[in-house]
């Protein structure tokens, strides 16, 4: 289980290594809304290594999906949405792309080429009026110039690779003829068609049944270990994070509140929000605890147009201390090798629940 070893302790500052696939610095995404600007993503910096699986965990409006939409240039154009910061992506061919502020013409080559994305609901991401074969071939044609029989054969190979039986026949199917799990496999086949160095998986199993979810996670893990692509796995489900991630970034109200390797996140979560999230996951084998209340974080995520002063988690936090937590937004502080946390009280609350 060498992927579990804590290999990824790269402090955010010293990351100019060749093995880095993605370096994100001070990413900010702001939407213009009637109630004033909504700062959906604030000062997000992280580094992703080759073959690494980074989980981006958060709840509604945490900014986890917008971070990735911003990286891929899929947010609405200015002035509706503005992006600042920098994100450098290393493609397999040795080229490096700056993803922020890049013209759409270039981004179109990056998307589906060096960086791919799969979304939650495969039915809405696939075009219902084209066969899955035509949709995979289109991507092969646009990025690799493949046509005709060569493209069809490669498409069948890809379907085979993602575990679809009888791939030749499946190419002629329309999306509605496939089950949810198969559609997600088709999406994954399209995403890996050009051997991307980065795959962004945005809640890829949320819409699927649990037994199918396990199959898709297994497939994603296999593809990653086979071809060494890096993955950003976006989810709200901490259970699946424990199963497939190497490193985890917990986001709350647009900011990273904690980032560390997966083992120490679950063993020693430092931020009260991370702790709360981990505790509120219902466990299967907790008969003792059955019928006793589940741990729940009180309150709701803050309104994105009006964040509380200081720590945005303050109003829901059981360790909130007036005068300290509501003064300024806490900095991300190093608490261990590669372990950063955004909480002024982390040393005092270590032992507390």
């Amino acid at each position: 289980m060498d992927h579990l070893e804590p290999l990824h302790f790269v402090p955010a500052a010293e990351s100019a290594e060749v093995d880095n696939i993605l370096e994100v610095r001070d990413l900010n995404v702001t939407f213009r809304a009637s109630g004033g600007p909504v700062r959906a993503v604030r000062d997000v910096s992280f580094t992703l290594r080759r073959g690494e699986n980074l989980a981006l965990v958060g709840e509604t409006s945490s900014g986890k999906s917008v971070t990735c939409l911003g990286l891929l240039g899929l947010t609405p154009p200015a002035p509706h949405c503005t992006i600042s910061g920098s994100a450098r992506l290393a493609a397999r061919d040795g080229k490096t792309y700056e993803l922020v502020g890049t013209p759409e013409r270039v981004m179109r080559q990056v998307r589906g080429g060096a960086a791919s994305v799969i979304f939650q609901e495969p039915m809405t991401s696939l075009n219902p009026v084209h066969t899955v074969g035509a949709q995979i071939c289109e991507s092969l044609h646009l990025h690799l110039g493949m046509k005709g029989r060569a493209a069809t054969e490669r498409a069948a190979e890809l379907l085979n690779e993602v575990g679809i039986s009888d791939p030749k026949r499946r190419l002629a199917n329309y999306p509605h003829e496939l089950s949810g799990g198969m559609r997600q496999r088709v999406m994954i086949a399209m995403a890996i068609a050009c051997e991307p160095s980065l795959l962004i998986a945005d809640e890829p199993t949320t819409a699927l049944d649990v037994t199918i979810q396990a199959q898709i996670l297994e497939l994603l893990q296999k593809l990653q270990s086979d071809n060494g692509m890096a993955m950003i796995y976006i989810t709200h489900n901490l259970g699946t994070v424990a199963e497939i991630a190497d490193r985890v970034m917990v986001m709350y109200a647009g900011r990273i509140v904690e980032t560390t390797d997966v083992v120490s996140l679950f063993a020693q979560p430092r931020h009260p929000y991370s702790r709360g999230l981990i505790q509120s996951v219902p466990r299967l084998h907790s008969n003792r605890a059955r019928k006793t209340p589940l741990f729940a974080i009180p309150g709701n995520v803050p309104d994105p147009t009006s964040h509380p002063p200081g720590c945005t988690f303050g109003p829901r936090c059981s360790h909130f201390e007036p005068g300290r937590c509501d003064v300024a937004v806490p900095d991300l502080e190093g608490v261990g090798p590669g372990h950063l946390v955004r909480c002024v009280r982390w040393p005092e609350i270590q032992g507390a629940v």
Binding site: L4, T211, A242
Partner: protein
């Protein structure tokens, strides 16, 4: 799961079938039948939470709707407090609806966006308790809003002004307005964030204890179900494959499908990663389910005999039955 009919039983589902006809007509291909629910029996005792667990297409939501007579079952009977419900007209059903209410999955689409909380909550009172005065209605709304953890001052707000978890609380409040005996909750937490999901599960548990509610809790998530249920029934392609006391079923699952569902719940400890036990393939099409045991095409323990006949539920313990012919797994 026939039990003697005692006053302790609030709801009985007997031989329920719900078949849908697809296609057909005088021009098209011959009609096909989808057996969404195919012969399901169970009882719910007063004050008990029974969970129906299964994946998409298992028929769990169809049963929920058929119990409330929102869709009449093709065959079988539903008895509520001893009274048969199947075949009742809408008018005859109306006084009973007061006693049986539903909470839906999606708190975004199940609340009318044009109505304030007060309007949403007073609608069931106007229908079922027209004798209440305006002030009595308002008092009741305030009391129930407090019960579900919302601020009564927010009664003039519209659904879009609330978060998902708060909306689900409104949905629960609406279901509680008429003081029902039975609550059918169809995936009430699956659309919610994890931290909020825990809040809503706790609320349902608290309501069960405080109000003595009987509940049918429909879910695909065994971990959630384990927290809330007294008994659990597992469904696969329209049939019960296992039913029993929650404790017994979770500690000693007998049906291979129940075991697969349990194995699919992610393990929260990254230091104990183990190889996944995967089920082969997808859920078969309900248009053409496999012969015999419907699960045999994905079952790691299937034998030739499994194709012969649909296995009946048989007791393996006093309150625990499974529909698998194998005893040796």
């Amino acid at each position: 799961m026939q039990q003697e009919h005692t006053a302790a039983v609030l709801l009985q589902v007997e031989g329920m079938r719900k078949w849908y006809s697809i296609g057909g007509g005088w021009l098209g291909k011959p009609a096909q039948t989808v057996k969404a629910v195919d012969g399901v029996n169970f009882d719910i005792r007063r004050g008990e939470v029974l969970s129906l667990v299964g994946e998409s297409g298992s028929g769990k939501s169809t049963i929920g709707r058929a119990i409330l007579n929102l869709d009449a079952p093709t065959a079988g009977q539903v008895r509520f407090d001893g009274k048969p419900l199947v075949g009742l007209t809408r008018r005859q059903m109306r006084p009973l609806r007061r006693a049986m209410q539903m909470v839906f999955q999606d708190p975004y689409s199940s609340l009318n966006p044009k109505h304030t909380v007060e309007e949403l909550l007073s609608a069931p009172l106007q229908i079922h308790m027209p004798e209440l005065t305006v002030q009595e209605r308002r008092d009741r709304i305030d009391a129930i809003l407090k019960t579900v953890g919302l601020n009564p001052a927010h009664r003039t707000r519209y659904p879009h002004e609330f978060s998902g978890g708060q909306r689900q609380r409104i949905g629960i409040a609406r279901a509680l307005m008429t003081e029902p005996q039975l609550l059918v909750a169809d995936e009430p937490v699956s659309a919610l964030d994890v931290s909020v999901q825990a809040q809503v599960i706790n609320l349902l548990l608290e309501l069960k204890q405080r109000l003595g509610l009987t509940m049918l809790f429909i879910s695909h998530d065994l971990a959630v179900v384990g927290h809330i249920s007294d008994r659990i029934a597992v469904m696969y392609l329209g049939r019960l494959v296992e039913i029993g006391d929650a404790e017994s079923l979770l500690n000693d699952p007998r049906h291979p499908y129940t075991r697969a569902l349990m194995a699919a719940v992610p393990n929260i400890d990254p230091q104990q990663r183990r190889p996944r036990q995967l089920l082969k393939g997808d859920i078969p099409s309900p248009l053409a389910p496999p012969s015999g045991c419907a699960f045999r095409t994905r079952c790691p323990h299937a034998q030739p005999a499994c194709a012969n006949a649909v296995p009946e539920l048989r007791f393996v313990e006093r309150h625990h039955a499974t529909a698998c012919i194998r005893d040796d797994i």
